[in-house]
């Protein structure tokens, strides 16, 4: 519907006229009945979705932290303001309104694709989306809300005067009014099938007659929320059935996988949550290469080297390595500089258009502390394309041994160390192999069995941070001496 000349012509003729008729999205809120049919870039596709994901993740963690409804609303509003603002009709200019609403529309449908894949994901997505809907519904203003509700057929029938008189006693008993409300003009009722208001039925807070629930206007939201939830549940199941076709689009699949994993990991990837960026010293773009050789685990060494060799990394690798560098402590400016230098074969124009925003974005915009955690070992081991997986798992034994020697012989790894490492690999104890490499390459400070600060490697950033810490401690000790 956004294709063709007609729409754009209209837009240029009547810019920002105070007439809601020209809004492509006349309502602030959306029931998401119609999927977006406009063209979008793959970057916008991902960006919007990640923005929405932050809001949903915060909603999920609100439940985990047992926030009250009011607290949840405050937190969710703040997240929305930051990532996916949705203004009221009277507040903003029309162009902005349509843009905001378009992003809201698009992001919802992208996440549907990402979260329809398993029953668990569907359930969590429906719950978070319904909560978001309720928060926005609560904030919506009377007139806007009425117009929004009018835009959709809820199949509710107004209860006529006569019928209302007929069931006067029952209605009054079902919806007791306080004394102060008594002089209010009598309440309006709507009739829906009882299955539309199961929560009211379960608590016996409604009048039922022959399968119809008589719902007073003040309980109308019950119908709306239930409708939103059931509709979304059904739509997700439908999408899940259609998805195999979509999987053929190789550009989308990694993004969708990544999104759903992001939701699963939430913001709770233990390691990055605990530490954020542990490195207080500023890391410059030109320092990365040197640090890689001294401090990175094999997975990140591999990504770094293929980036240097090919002057390119595919999407998933970019994301994985980029988040790792972010948590390592590379500022957004330095990250842009690093990637610009590494992608030496493309033009500035192409870089700015296709990559820059994404890098800034992975920083959560404006330097906000990591909301997208870097991938943990578990995620690297289990998800994503194998070329960016854990090398201890994906490399053939010969390749792995060659890679280990070429990567770590400068830090003291010798071929006599290999049998022990390969034995761990063979029994699928990849983290044990990685931890052993760490011990060997830091043998000046770490004894066998010490691991990474007393534990096994569970996260590439944990590996790197500990390595940097040990180097710093050694330096300081020397300074004192």
């Amino acid at each position: 519907m956004f294709k063709g000349g007609h729409g754009s012509l209209n837009e240029s003729y009547v810019p920002q006229v105070a007439n809601h008729g020209v809004l492509k999205y006349p309502h602030r809120m959306n029931f998401y009945d119609v999927p977006p049919t406009f063209d979008t870039t793959i970057e916008e596709f991902e960006r919007c979705a990640l923005d929405r994901l932050r809001i949903l993740a915060e909603i999920e963690s609100s439940a985990a932290r047992n926030r009250t409804w009011e607290e949840l609303k405050t937190v969710t509003r703040a997240q929305c303001e930051k990532y996916l603002p949705l203004n009221f009709n009277l507040v903003a200019k029309h162009n902005d309104l349509d843009l905001e609403r378009r992003r809201d529309h698009l992001s919802h449908f992208v996440l549907r694709l990402a979260f329809c894949r398993s029953e668990d994901l569907r359930r969590r997505f429906v719950k978070a989306e319904t909560t978001l809907f309720k928060v926005r519904y609560d904030d919506d203003m009377g007139k806007d809300r009425d117009a929004f509700l009018d835009s959709r057929d809820f199949n509710w029938t107004s209860v006529g005067q006569e019928e209302q008189r007929q069931y006067k006693t029952e209605l009054e008993a079902a919806y007791p009014v306080s004394k102060s409300e008594l002089d209010r003009p009598s309440e309006k009722y709507y009739k829906v099938k009882w299955t539309r208001v199961p929560d009211l039925v379960e608590r016996r807070k409604v009048f039922l007659k022959e399968g119809w629930a008589y719902v007073p206007s003040r309980e109308q939201s019950s119908i709306v929320f239930q409708e939103f939830e059931t509709h979304l549940e059904r739509a997700l199941e439908m999408t899940a059935r259609l998805l195999p076709r979509l999987d053929e689009d190789t550009r989308l699949l990694p993004i969708l996988n990544n999104l759903s994993q992001g939701f699963l990991a939430g913001i709770s990837s233990e390691w990055s949550n605990a530490s954020g960026s542990t490195n207080t010293d500023e890391i410059k773009a030109e320092m990365v290469d040197g640090m890689a050789k001294k401090h990175f685990p094999l997975c990140m060494r591999t990504l770094h080297e293929s980036l240097q060799r090919d002057n390119h990394l595919k999407h998933f690798g970019r994301l994985q390595y980029g988040l790792f560098l972010k948590v390592l402590g590379l500022s957004v400016e330095e990250a842009v500089a690093f990637w610009r230098k590494s992608f030496s074969r493309i033009t500035d124009d192409k870089f700015n258009k296709e990559y820059k925003y994404n890098i800034r974005h992975s920083y959560g915009l404006e330097g906000k502390r990591a909301n997208y955690p870097a991938k943990s070992c578990l995620q690297i081991l289990t998800g994503g394309p194998s070329e960016y997986g854990c090398p201890y798992r994906t490399f053939s034994p010969e390749n792995l041994q060659a890679a280990l020697l070429s990567s770590y012989s400068q830090q003291g790894l010798r071929s006599v160390d290999l049998p022990e490492i390969m034995a761990a690999v063979k029994s699928s104890h990849f983290h044990v192999a990685c931890t052993r490499v760490f011990e060997i390459t830091h043998s000046a400070d770490v004894r066998k069995g010490d691991g990474v600060g007393g534990e096994s490697v569970t996260h590439p950033n944990q590996y790197a941070a500990r390595s940097i810490e040990l180097e710093k401690a050694a330096k300081e000790a020397m300074d004192v001496e």
Binding site: E119, T169, E170, A173, A174, P176, S178, W194, T195, P198, D199, V201, E202, R203, R204, K205, F207, L208, K209, E210, G211, W212
Partner: protein, 406 residues
């Protein structure tokens, strides 16, 4: 010979299945039309074999297949589950996600055990005509709530063979209810939580002091049976334990004290006398009335086994099975004569076989497909057949409507 009547040996069961069990009737009732549909072919049957071996996910193409398998396995009883998205017997070859319950009759189970804390006539597995009063009251309340409030019409009540009753609702809309919706409906019909030990907690089913309309409807009826059932037959407040329970509902401690003294002093006062004492006080102190209403509801409102109703995939014993402990047939019941129903009047499998024998001697031994017609099973089979006819008429009407819209 009572011992012959509760003979449920494999030989007896096999003869029963071969000659008496109305498979065609069960098929029509589950299938809603003559030609086998998914309602039957995708339906789960589960068999309990001799020695308590449990066999799930059986399914059949038609009534004859079902009969053949039943006669072959000769189960002590069998149960009916939901209609799945695929044939249950193919379950193992189907992707897990592609096998899920789709539709299922909305079912209820009321069992005498949930009334053990209040009934005084029998205990445990026992049941008599007196305590059947509780079940009858529950049937009245549930039946009219389902019809008047939820608008369902295709209800059939089935005696469970010992001390309870099942309700199967076959309206299309009811069959399509999700588990979530079933849970909500059960919530609506639950006022007493049998697990919460009564005395400790006073019931709380009022909003702002008022009873919701559904409970008011129930109360109108329950008031009419409370006197005979609770005061006369069960005599619930006769013992000290019984009347102390009653006094829990009265919040005014001076009233409680004076009644307690009075009742302690004259232990001969019957439940009815004690209730009248309360009514007399209430006539001058109307704020006591809600408490008395609560008592009536607490003692007579249906006590449901909620778990049975909440999930589509819950299995429930098929009508006309034989209860292994009593030998009685799980017969469908006519709700209008539920008050007169006497569990001990239900035919046992032994009795039915004796009837068959008697006919056999008279007519020569021509075994026919529907031998039940000649036994006292007939009125019960006819009852379910009439019910199924209603379901089939409904389906035919629907189909005709579709034709017109074409």
């Amino acid at each position: 010979m009572p011992s012959a009547e509760i003979d449920v040996s494999p030989e007896v069961m096999l003869t029963f299945y071969r000659r008496l069990y109305p498979f065609k009737t069960i098929f029509n009732w589950l299938n809603h039309e003559h030609a086998p549909s998914r309602l039957f072919t995708h339906r789960e049957f589960a068999f309990t074999l001799q020695g308590d071996v449990y066999l799930r996910y059986q399914s059949f193409n038609n009534a004859d297949e079902l009969k053949k398998q039943v006669c072959q396995l000769n189960p002590t009883r069998f149960e009916i589950g939901p209609v799945y998205s695929a044939r249950p017997r193919d379950k193992k070859t189907i992707r897990a996600g592609a096998f899920s319950p789709q539709v299922r009759e909305l079912v209820f189970d009321i069992d005498m055990t949930d009334y053990d804390p209040i009934r005084t006539c029998c205990k445990d597995a026992g049941i008599c005509k007196k305590c059947w009063g509780f079940i009858a009251a529950a049937v009245h309340v549930i039946d009219s709530a389902i019809r008047d409030e939820f608008g369902y019409e295709k209800l059939i009540w089935v005696y469970s063979g010992r001390r309870g009753i099942h309700l199967w609702i076959s309206d299309k809309e009811a069959m399509e209810l999700t588990d979530q919706q079933r849970k909500s409906l059960v919530g609506w019909l639950t006022a007493i939580h049998p697990t919460a030990k009564e005395s400790s907690k006073k019931p709380n089913f009022r909003f702002g002091g008022k009873l919701p309309p559904s409970l008011q409807n129930a109360l109108q009826y329950l008031k009419t049976i409370f006197g005979e059932l609770i005061l006369t037959e069960q005599d619930c407040f006769e013992s000290e334990e019984g009347y102390e329970e009653l006094l829990q509902y009265i919040s005014d401690s001076r009233t409680v004290e004076s009644l307690r003294t009075k009742w302690e002093d004259s232990p001969s006062r019957s439940s009815e006398d004690k209730w009248n004492d309360l009514l007399r006080i209430a006539s001058s102190r109307p704020n006591l009335i809600p408490a008395l209403e609560d008592v009536i509801i607490q003692y007579t409102y249906p006590r449901l086994d909620a778990e049975v109703s909440k999930h589509r995939n819950h299995l429930l014993k098929a009508p006309f099975c034989i209860h292994p402990k009593t030998g009685r047939v799980c017969v469908p019941l006519d709700v209008t004569s539920i008050d007169k129903f006497d569990p001990e009047g239900v035919p046992t499998v032994g009795q039915l076989l004796q009837e068959l024998d008697a006919i056999g001697r008279e007519e020569g031994a021509a075994i026919s497909h529907s031998d039940w017609e000649k036994t006292s099973l007939k009125p019960y089979v006819d009852l379910l057949d009439r019910h199924s006819q209603g379901l089939m008429d409904e389906v035919r009407k629907e189909k005709r409507k579709d034709d017109v819209s074409w």
